[in-house]
Amino acid sequence: MFQKMMTGALIAGIAAGLLAAVLHFAFVQSYILLGEQYETGELVHFQTPADHATEDHAAVAEHDHGSHEHGDEPSVLQRNALTVGFTVLLYVAYGMLLTAGFAIAAQFGRKITATEGALWGLAGFVAFQMAPGMGLAPELPGSAAADLTSRQIWWWGTVVATGGGLALLAYGRSILTVVAGIVLLALPHVIGAPLLDAYYGYAPTEVGAIFSSRVLGVGLVVWVVLGWLAGRQWDRGAAA
């Protein structure tokens, strides 16, 4: 059984991860690189293009851009290959969690098909990307954010609460489970994500906004495809 589940999760995760990588380079990567130009001071916000042409680059270099260092810069090919690899790994992990969820649902007599899998994928997107993103918007390099550990804790809490809330709403059978589901969905946002008292990011808000929108758009597509594929694999495995 484990082998069947793992095979299904791997097939769905690798396929969805490769799709995510293609969409990443089509829609997202150029904005990461643009954000990094602001992060490193190569570009400076609040300058018109004419101002920038006469910019004193020594002054820009002196600009304090925080303590974040990327260490030795890898080649573009190496950097992008790592992005593809880690994107595939991430969606394989999500595929495993979805498949484990399918197995739990099956224990309660739910039949998981490709269509139901796509709905699970949608729920996964909401739990892992949209709900955390409503407190902690996808971060463009060059934007400022609160303490990392507290953000990671809020991220995990939001994922667990949102996932649990959606499961209660989808599969609960009483008014109590519906109420509990809504409370769980709302709770992380009532508590609130760790935010800064003042914002001092270097990148323009316009770049951050389109970056966040694109991250969420790509995430939605990939999650639905992942869920559909994982559901299809599960259905085939269960029928075999």
């Binding site: 990461i32 260490g71 992005t83 484990a100 197995a103 990307q129 990671q152 991220w155």
Partner: protein, 54 residues
């Protein structure tokens, strides 16, 4: 019948736990671990999939 159901439940419990544990471990490693090497390697993916990065 009860015995069959119990056996089936127990036999699925291990694979479910196994999948969940491996999935969560990979998720923690690629998305959240802060070792410099992992962070730099996974950097663009973390930004592009909504993880708190740095």
């Amino acid at each position: 019948m009860t015995t069959t159901t119990q056996t089936k439940t127990q036999s699925l419990l291990a694979p479910i736990l196994g999948m969940a544990v491996i999935g969560l471990t990979v998720l923690l490693a690629v998305g959240h671990a802060q070792s410099a090497t992992l962070h730099d390697a996974a950097h663009d993916m973390r930004h592009a999939t909504g993880f708190p990065c740095h």
